[in-house]
């Protein structure tokens, strides 16, 4: 009995420890969820949230009825999908290749350098890219040396802009992604490799059949996590790199919401943001279930 009580006392203490965190989440994460009502009201600051009249799904009608939001969704999906398809394997491949280098100082050096872009914000990187991809910048200069005579409008042409966005995004994430995978690779027992070599496997086969499968769990976890950011499509990057000439492919949900916010069009901004959150949750739940189903219940986020 006495044991039980002190156990319970200890357990209550644990709850108290959690309290500050709970308060923080409640105030700054859960209360704003209540503010989502704005999406269903004719909100004006003078009336406040509760004082504003309800108008039901009106704002969602405006959103999905006009062509602007649909275009914005299309752009978001397009950019996200391209990023995932092109970018998902890049850090894995990079990690595998890096792993193959036997000179320790070389691989560490390259790995260190590859971390550099991760440290910088997109504000800095976008500023740099605006200079490097400009018409008279080094990239076009290099191209002219190879023989391409007309400079490419990297940042003002619809297609090239997406190309630059995807490539620079992969470039930025290579280093940090590789670290995560290299950590997994480092925990592979060496006996597996020895055994494979005895069985006559060459380097590529070792890479494919030993190293790669070890990375599968991490890859799946990261993939599921990235579903949460699916509809964000990298707002930070795009906002800092886009310009009016590429709006029709670069305007994504978050830039749209920002525009609505600065026009003080709160209802549309909230409705669009809500749409985004709801879809994100659904996507994560689906991908989690799919992954559980594919790996027989072993691998999932939760």
């Amino acid at each position: 009995m006495v044991q039980d009580n002190s156990q319970y006392q200890n357990n209550k203490v644990l709850l108290y420890m959690f309290l500050p965190c709970a308060v923080y989440y409640f105030i700054f994460d859960y209360i704003p969820m209540g503010g989502l009502m704005i999406a269903f009201k004719d909100y004006s600051i003078k009336n406040g949230i509760l004082g504003s009249p309800w108008i039901g799904m009106g704002h969602f009608d405006t959103l999905f009825g006009g062509s602007e939001f649909l275009l914005v969704i299309r752009n978001t999906l397009m950019i996200s999908i391209i990023k995932i398809i092109c970018g998902f394997f890049a850090p894995v491949i990079f990690a595998l290749l890096l792993n193959e280098i036997r000179a320790g100082f070389l691989s560490r050096g390259i790995q260190s350098l590859s971390l550099l872009p991760y440290l910088f914000s997109w504000v800095i990187l976008a500023s740099i890219f605006r200079l490097t991809f400009s018409n008279s910048g080094p990239v076009n200069e290099l191209l002219s040396l190879i023989g391409v005579d007309k400079p490419v409008n990297w940042l003002s042409d619809d297609v090239w802009f997406i190309f630059v966005i995807v490539v620079t995004d992969i470039w930025k994430g290579l280093g940090i992604g590789a670290i995560i995978y290299l950590a997994s690779i480092a925990s592979i027992p060496l006996e597996l490799y020895k055994a494979a070599k005895i069985d006559g496997a060459n380097r590529f086969q070792q890479m494919l059949f030993i190293t790669l499968p070890q990375l599968k769990p991490t890859m799946i976890t990261l993939l599921i996590l990235s579903m949460g950011g699916f509809l964000s499509a990298g707002f930070d990057q795009i906002y800092n790199m886009y310009n009016p000439l590429v709006y029709d492919v670069a305007d994504i949900i978050d830039t749209y919401v920002l525009r609505m916010l600065t026009d003080l069009n709160f209802e549309i901004a909230t409705a669009a943001g809500m749409f985004k959150s709801v879809v994100a949750v659904i996507l994560i739940m689906i991908s989690n279930s799919v992954s559980k189903w594919l790996t027989n219940g072993e691998q999932g986020l939760y």
Binding site: Q7, N10, N11, K12, V13, L14, L15, M17, F18, P20, C21, Y24, Y25, I27, F28, D29, I31, P32, G34, G35, L36, I38, L98, E100, I101, L106, I110, L113, L115, L116, Y118, L119, S121, V123, I124, S127, I128, R130, L131, T132, S136, L142, L174, G175, I179, I180, A183, S187, R203, P217, T218, T221, D236, N240, L261, F266, A269, K276, S277, V281
Partner: protein, 287 residues
């Protein structure tokens, strides 16, 4: 020595050269900016592929430093990191600890409570209105609140705590220690690697944050360095510099602003390298 096949050696050669070229692209853009910022006017307007500065002209830097709010921006950024990061790390660990103990009542619910915030949010507008009510608008405290207890970090720390041998906890309990004591005197010191990793993540987040300053601050002097950079280079919010700086090519000024913002991070870089890989491995994404 095991003989290597030709194919294997060829692969090595190609691999290394590819990766070296890749690393070159990792740092060339910064080099280009450095070169651009040191150029005098004629060269900057001509553009091109530079490998080294052709002149050493600090006028662009003088021009940038003459702008108000650069120094205040730097101060704000430094204060923001120095204050927010330790508090954030502490609170994250404090949150993760109960979640890592099996005997915490309602553990699963609490975990879901935390996890849900990572998936769903009210969005920009309700948060803005909330800050308005609490008086966080145009108030530097809003910086502290951003990402204070990130669910992702909590999960990392929780995993790490779970990997600490249970025997330590039991031994302490037998000695009569309270959970607080165990937390502060045993778990925290043992968790240095993961805590440093979290600190790293938070530092980078806070140093690079600009959007919150843009939306929540109406006074220019409370804005952080990245927001300042954003206004100068991206939004081109700068009036034409007058007096002695007229005639400086805008590319040089933009490049100089970038370099000034980049330098502090480079100081932190070696430190980051040492701790990152260790931390992520131990925090474990392999559940």
């Amino acid at each position: 020595m095991i003989k290597e096949s030709f194919g294997s050696r060829l692969f090595d050669a190609v691999n290394i050269s590819l990766l070296l070229m890749l690393s070159f692209t990792m740092f060339y853009p910064f080099l280009y900016c450095l070169v651009l910022s040191l150029s005098s006017e004629a060269y900057a307007s001509q553009g091109g592929f530079f490998l080294y500065p052709r002149s050493f002209d600090l006028t662009a830097y003088k021009a940038v430093f003459s702008k108000p709010h650069l120094l205040s921006g730097m101060m704000n950024s430094i204060m923001r990191v120095l204050i927010s990061v330790p508090i954030s790390v502490l609170l994250t660990a404090l949150c993760a600890y109960p979640l890592s103990r099996k005997e915490t009542p309602y553990r699963k619910t609490l975990f879901l409570f935390v996890l849900f915030t990572m998936l769903f949010s009210g969005g920009m507008v309700p948060v803005y209105l909330l800050y308005n009510n609490i008086g966080l608008l145009d108030n530097r405290l809003v910086y502290l609140v951003q990402g204070l207890i990130a669910a992702f970090n909590v999960i990392l720390v929780r995993n790490y705590f779970q990997n600490i041998p249970e025997s330590m906890h039991q031994a302490a309990m037998i000695d009569g220690a309270s959970e607080w004591y165990i937390f502060f005197r045993i778990y925290l010191p043992l968790s240095k690697p993961i805590l440093v990793t979290i600190a790293m993540f938070q530092t980078i987040f806070h140093w690079n944050a600009w959007f919150d300053a843009m939306i929540y601050m109406t006074s220019d002097k409370k804005v952080v360095l990245q927001a300042f950079l954003q206004r100068i280079v991206i939004q081109q919010e700068w009036q034409q510099l007058r007096d002695i700086y007229v005639g400086l090519p805008p590319e040089s000024i933009k490049a100089a602003t970038v370099i000034i913002t980049v330098v502090p991070i480079l100081f932190v870089f070696p430190f980051v390298l040492r701790h990152f890989s260790k931390g992520i491995m131990l925090g474990g994404l392999k559940e």
